[in-house]
Symmetry: C2
Subunit: 385 residues, 2 copies
């Protein structure tokens, strides 16, 4: 059986692993510590640093394919591995678009995908020019490394933009800016593509953020106009094809009165795809494994009318009630709640698990139930009582 | 999080593990070798012998609960562990009914469950008496240790029964006999029960055997009369309650023109429950984990009209085409096939994996497709071409 090497030790690697076990695959994980989320539960763990070429060489040797649970492996190392015969999926020329927001925006604009007006910000002059061009509706972004609301700023005055730009450029943070959109809500269009070309799309979902962190995903996005749904799916498929993405691609989108705009790309399993574990014939972890091994993709059909995913986000304090008892209380109230935990300790805002709720009928009730369950798992209290 | 200790290293332990990982639980496996099915993929493996009390003490120390993927741990060791404060689920007084067919038959008869006429066979005289009582319709069984068609004999003459009885008793094989039933087909009624009493039943399935080994499970059992379905479910629930089973209970049943009769009991995840992985809100592995940890049980509702499970049984020869390519071919033809492999090498008749197919409409077509897929995975050829 193939050895699939996963660079990264978080919950995405952990869930890729459980999916791969069921397929009989062997998974080797490059982890930073033995108590990392994926390392806790994997049989074949190599400790090492994903920025160190020799350690990457050691862990990838003999693997059928190499994939990732994050986008932070230096592309020059990946180029070297590929030159040495290692099968890296996705390829660095695709990955760069998930690493550098300016590269991504430029590329997406070229391929005709809807992106807000944007510009590279390499000086105060660039900032001023863009501020004027969009009449102060500026979203400033670090080109690399931002996630969960980090690396994004909304200056309310040009002075603030100037100060931010000065400070960040001085720190060595490459910047870009884009026009703030009239956000109605966020959407996510996910697809998976395999090297020989097959692409499959999951339904477009609504994603609800809290302090910049994904809080809920609702599948499919309630009330989404068919033309927007079709465009979101088309953009995701085209992006995967044109950029040569392999494995999963999540296209995070803004829905606005003016239509949809691409926000971010991720080339791996993604938080907005966790709902597929209980909502689809083929979940995103199995699909990613199949895709990077260039195996035919599975059906992405849904199993029920609605699936809601609620993230379990760590709170400032861990209550006294032990977690297993909290699970008991949640299952007593919601016997259908599908709880997924990552083996991670408490920390405010940290994603430590998620709850999937699947059903038909009133999707808002399902979302509320997901919220109640996820909240109880962190706070040991019912938010509605 | 609780440490769940699983005694046994086969595919049932392996699949309990993947279910437990998703729930954030820690699983510790007692395995006979590092390349055993469950040991291959578990992070916490203890090598040892499940018949050795000291090794059982070592692996179970500090666990929240101890459970099994087989029924072969000596009950006196389990009694000792319990006396020493270890939480063993299920308990030996329940397990004995899955270990000794005579004890099971006697107990089931007491509780009013439908069993064929039976008798202990401790001498040639017992055999003769039973032969006459059932007019030669004798099924002779080893009281312990039989599985997959082993330990069961159908003597066609009294002489054959006499010889068998003599030989087996001389070998030290405790025996029982029961009346051969007019088998229409085999059914399986599965439930899960937790120590505090909650019981949940999955739909009753049809199980199709080949040379005494489970070949297909079809869920729910097609065309099963409602009165038989209800009786099968009632028998399984009552058996779980009266015997104090914890975790899963599979009641294998004979359907006959005279009604249903209990054939075997298993107190663990069971082959006829593998379909639940893709066919139910809560699969048997997650449910078993929840049950033995005394957590509320999940919904056993089905996700589609039909689910067919086809076992992948090893053939005398392993074809040249590598297994990953066989998977590719199967998925090309059946993109919805859910393949589960156990990491086991080829051996004739050995269960090395299973395929679940879920759908609506023509169940016989679904069964045929499951058969084609499972056959291809072993023989690298389409049975219908």
């Amino acid at each position: 059986m193939p050895i699939l090497c996963v660079i990264g030790d978080g919950q995405l690697a952990r869930m890729m692993q459980t999916a791969a076990i069921e397929l009989g695959q062997s998974v080797r994980v490059l982890a930073s510590s033995l108590d990392a989320s994926a390392a806790q539960v994997a049989a074949d763990v190599v400790l090492g640093d994903y920025t160190n070429l020799d350690e990457l060489r050691a862990v990838t040797a003999g693997s059928t394919a190499v994939t990732f649970d994050h986008e932070h492996v230096p592309n020059e190392h990946l180029e070297t591995l590929i030159a040495e015969g290692i099968n890296v999926q996705p390829r660095p020329e695709a990955l760069i678009n998930a690493q550098d927001k300016l590269v991504m925006r430029t590329r997406l604009k070229e391929l005709g995908a809807p992106v807000p007006p944007f510009a590279a910000i390499e000086s105060i002059e660039d900032a001023e020019k863009f501020w004027n061009a969009v009449e102060g509706r500026v979203c400033l972004k670090a080109r690399r490394g931002g996630y969960d609301g980090k690396g994004v700023w909304f200056p309310v005055s040009f002075d603030e933009l100037k100060d931010l730009t000065q400070e960040l450029l001085a720190n060595g943070t490459p910047l870009m800016a884009e026009e703030k959109v009239n956000l109605v809500r966020e959407l996510s269009a996910m697809v998976s593509r395999r090297p020989s070309g097959e692409v499959k799309a999951w339904p477009v979902v609504e994603s609800i953020q809290k302090d910049g962190i994904c809080w809920f995903a609702i599948a499919p996005a309630p009330g989404l106009k068919e033309e927007l749904r079709a465009e979101a799916e088309r953009v995701a498929i085209k992006t995967a094809e044109v950029l040569g993405v392999t494995g999963n691609l999540a296209v995070e989108l803004f829905e606005t009165p003016e239509g949809i705009f691409v926000n971010e790309l991720a080339m791996r399993p993604h938080n907005t795809g966790h709902w597929t574990q209980n909502g689809c014939v083929t979940d995103q972890f199995e699909q990613h494994v199949r895709a990077v091994l260039d195996m035919p993709l599975g059906s992405t059909e849904t199993l029920q009318e609605w699936t809601v995913m609620a993230n379990v986000l760590g709170a400032p304090e861990d209550p006294e009630m032990p977690m297993p008892e909290r699970m008991v209380e949640v299952w007593k109230r919601f016997p259908d709640a599908k709880i997924h935990f990552y083996g991670k300790g408490h920390r405010p805002g940290r994603k430590i698990g998620h709850v999937n709720m699947t059903g038909a009928g009133d999707v808002e009730e399902l979302r509320r139930n997901g919220e109640l369950a996820a909240h109880f798992l962190v706070h040991a209290e019912w938010k509605d009582q």
